[in-house]
Amino acid sequence: MTKKNFLTLMILLVVACALPFLVSNYRTFQFTLVLVYAIALLGLNVLTGYNGQISLGHGAFYAIGAYTAAILMDKLGAPYWATLPAAGAVCLVAGFLFGLPALRLEGLYLALATFALGVSMPQLLKYHHLEAWTGGVQGIVIAKPEPPAFLRDAGLVLNADQWLYFFALAVTILMFALGWNLMRGRVGRALIAIRDQHIAAQAMGINNALYKSLAFGVSAMYTGIAGALGAIAVQYVAPDSFNIFLSLVFLVGIVVGGLASISGALYGALFIQFVPNIADDISKAAPWAIFGVIMIAFVYLMPTGVAGAVRLLLARKKSP
């Protein structure tokens, strides 16, 4: 990491820490969701951006993560922070298992299979034999976590929204650091090699099957953790909030933010959180019309997304 990059990151961190004290509680809550989406987008980007496996069903893993957290908190009384690793583990296994059959599917067919997963997820969650756990159509309401006592003792007074924001921020930083390290190392290079030329990758001794299903698992784990965090932030899970459009939102996010880019996840998350709010003023249907147009415009005009555009601008500035 260069000195300049480090400096930029530090400034970003300071801004992120100052944010909840500068804006209203509702905005803080929205920024918490931005962080949640950023983790989910990072997860999808590992799979789709870096590894080239198209998933139109990541909303399903988000849902599994959210429900894992909600069930653990509501039925078993687990503390909220403990649900994140649990959700991650459950989704890692679920993603790995879904990734195994997905090995045989390529391109469009994988998109199709994951699309089917995304569409049928709400129905599975409503299934009446699971109702004792999932709460059926009603879903589950969970309590908002309070800031821990030691902060109050230390003289730092935070309200619940602010605390949740910082909690999410810490998780996000951890997940991004992990993701960044994973992607720039041996594993990341293997994933990219498989995306670009899977036969050549295999010839070079990369275990395609293992890496591809691993990518699925890790990707699902990220999305699951995001789902758990999202459920805690929203304090509510219900089947219909995890419909196919959630999966499509994630796709919009990585395309806009930038495929195969770590920072792109953050841009994408800001986009999918705030653009609908602006567009909502025009019409209830407007956000999706705008999403659709922007999505198509981006793949035509700016295929590397916002992250790519930022990189290009910086490069231009350096060499005038």
């Binding site: 789709t48 080239g52 198209i54 139109l56 059959p101 045989r104 599917l105 391109g107 469009l108 067919y109 998109a111 199709l112 299979a113 699309f115 089917a116 997963l117 569409v119 049928s120 129905q123 599975l124 409503k126 299934y127 009446h128 036969i199 196919i244 459009f245 499509l248 796709l251 395309v255 495929l259 019409s283 209830k284 249907a285 407007a286 956000p287 999706w288 019309a289 999403f291 659709g292 147009v293 999505m295 198509i296 793949v299 035509y300 295929p303």
Partner: protein, 286 residues
């Protein structure tokens, strides 16, 4: 028995949408995720025409015509630039198309559910008690569409040119076929077939911008079951999926998990026999 017949009826609709999917696949080797929304949008156009005082069948024909032209426009404007792009780009464009059509329909016609008239009489035809006239009619319409398509592809010069363009674009261009326009024509036809499917299912499931997401899934399952490159397979697959969905839904797993039948079918078929029961097996050369 009743469930089987009811399944055949809905199967007819899946069959026609699957047919549209297969047609686009044959012409372009792409699976069109926006097919369902295209059909939904056409159905709304038909609804507007009927509400404006038009009779059902004139509105039906006019809608099929409009859908045909819209399909060509979509191919020319949206799909053509990404013809040789990576799969991910194509999928993103399709999804973009899906959400645009969905939200524009919601914008214009609102999300309230509307009823759509059926062209067929309310009392059962030919004294068959188990199936309503509309269900029978829908099956009939599907079979007619299939027959028309078969004749078109088998016996007309344009149909021959389209098949040639899909099979070997380079050679087709050399013998003077305008391959680009053949693709556009394929999209137009698929949109028209989708419009028929939409108008046939709308009286059953009612009209609303999200009516197609489930149906599209069944159509995918049907197309994969029959083989994504086989029109006859798509129709057979449609009926099979319709019956399976109804019988399993009624007796085995209950109505709540019907969509999962499609999920399991899609994944199962892709894993066990990706080319479907009627499709050709493709071998890719390194």
């Amino acid at each position: 028995m009743f469930q089987v017949l009811a399944g055949l009826a809905t199967g007819g609709i899946y069959a026609s949408l699957a047919l549209a999917l297969v047609m686009i696949y044959q012409a372009t080797h792409l699976v069109n995720f926006a097919q369902g929304e295209m059909a939904m949008f056409s159905t709304y156009i038909a609804w507007s025409l009927i509400n404006a005082g038009m009779g059902f069948w004139p509105a039906f024909l006019l809608t099929v015509g409009i859908a045909f032209i819209l399909g060509i426009f979509i191919e020319r404007i949206v799909i053509r630039p990404v013809e040789n792009a990576p799969v991910l780009v194509v999928v993103v464009v399709f999804i973009g198309l899906l959400v645009i059509l969905n939200s524009v329909a919601g914008w214009i016609y609102t999300y309230t559910i509307k009823s759509f008239p059926s062209p067929f009489p309310a009392e059962p035809l030919f004294g068959i008690r188990y199936m309503s006239a509309h269900q029978l009619g829908a099956i009939g319409v599907t079979l007619v569409v299939l027959a028309v398509l078969y004749v078109f592809f088998r016996f007309t010069p344009v149909g021959l040119a389209m098949r040639a363009a899909a099979q070997n674009p380079v050679s087709s261009r050399l013998v003077g076929i305008r391959v680009g326009w053949m693709l556009a024509l394929g999209w137009g036809l698929a949109a028209a077939v989708g419009a028929v499917a939409g108008m046939m299912i709308a009286p059953i499931v009612y009209l609303d911008p999200n009516m197609m997401s489930g149906i599209l899934l069944y159509a995918f399952a049907a197309a994969l079951l029959g083989g994504i490159d086989s029109p006859v397979g798509a129709v057979v697959g449609g009926f099979v999926v319709g019956v399976l969905e109804n019988v399993l839904g009624a007796f085995v797993i209950g109505n709540e998990l019907k969509l999962s039948v499609a999920l399991v079918l899609i994944i199962g078929m892709l894993l066990v026999k990706p080319s479907g029961f009627f499709g050709k097996v493709h071998v890719t050369r390194v």
